[in-house]
Symmetry: C2
Subunit: 205 residues, 2 copies
């Protein structure tokens, strides 16, 4: 059973890369599905769960949280409940019978004991801004400045949320097995090469 985790800078194409890898390798793919499972368990909307986990849950936790993950007193907090359920959902995927690619959600840290293959996807900021603007829904008319600002906030939150779980910093090459720079890359071609790497590395058929 193999788990591949994909963490990524916002706008780097990491989600597309994760999806393509899952398709090419015949792995299950998890991204929004995790949010949906958490939302269902707590009777909340997916949008709310996503918002809380991406923006607020971590920053409101006491600094000692990662040393006391299972303290019932902390688990009573509503935000902490979401984080706890996220961990349960992700561990269930890893304990399941299928190979899987999991994008985001600090799965690389949560599943440390399962020894996932950890990929980080990055790109030059200019390339990430371009990618975001190309993919924005028609009529949204985002400025590069607004995209850049939003991007920095999201990545700061991702880095912060990792801080609570691990001593290895978000985005640092030592925290992952492979770090891929997608600047000026076509994700499709890059995914095919990475699939070739992983077939060999994980000894897949």
């Amino acid at each position: 059973m193999h788990i591949i985790t994909v963490a990524r800078e916002f706008g780097s194409g990491g989600r597309e890369l994760g999806k393509r890898l899952a398709d090419l390798l015949g792995f299950d793919y998890y991204d929004r599905e995790i949010i949906a499972a958490i939302a269902e368990k707590h009777g909340l909307s997916e949008g709310y769960v996503d918002y809380v986990l991406e923006n607020h849950a971590w920053t409101s936790l006491p600094i000692t949280f990662h040393h006391s993950f299972h303290l019932p007193v902390l688990l009573a907090e509503p935000q902490t409940k979401l984080i706890s359920t996220q961990r349960e959902v992700i561990e269930k995927i890893a304990a399941g019978p299928h190979n899987a690619v999991i994008v985001g959600r600090q799965a690389d840290v949560i599943l440390e004991e399962y020894h996932p293959f950890r990929i980080f996807v990055c790109a030059a900021e200019s390339s990430r801004v371009r990618r975001c603007m190309e993919r924005a829904p028609e009529g949204e008319n985002l400025t590069a400045h607004a995209v850049r600002k939003n991007m920095r906030v999201i990545d700061k939150n991702r880095a912060k949320s990792r801080e609570f779980l691990s001593d290895l910093p978000w985005g640092s090459p030592a925290s992952y097995d492979l770090t891929v720079n997608t600047t000026d890359c076509e994700i499709k071609a890059l995914s095919e090469a990475l699939a070739a790497f992983l077939r060999c590395r994980l000894d897949l058929k």
Copy 2:
């Protein structure tokens, strides 16, 4: 014509990885050969050239050096001559008729216009110390403390020498196409997977 550059943290196994990649892909391999060519041109010993380029040449240059690389006045300095010859030797390899792997020597920056595929090899410090101690010549009896100290000095010099040539920092994932973490890895197996990646990525036969 393809060039693969391999920059690396000291003790990460980057040199072995570069050599294995060259063998697996049928590329020429350059590492000590560059030092030998510089030494021959200037009638100096390889040891001296290596020592100067690895430790002293860059730190003694004026901070404006990278803006004025071809100023004859700077080229008159003996250390600058070595750096200049290093550039000539590396550009000659890139302009030559053969695919090549070049390990170290800031080749990724020097050959920017040739668009090399840039690999950075890193590993956890504990893993690098272990690798160095295992490979030390018999009877050398290095302590982990001494190895760690030496390792930090060398990597600091590598980072510094890059600073003079590029705004993209040494070891930062944005400076390379692929960053590989060799912590607890067998370099042989990792090289085979990377060769599969590169065959696909560079469209090699």
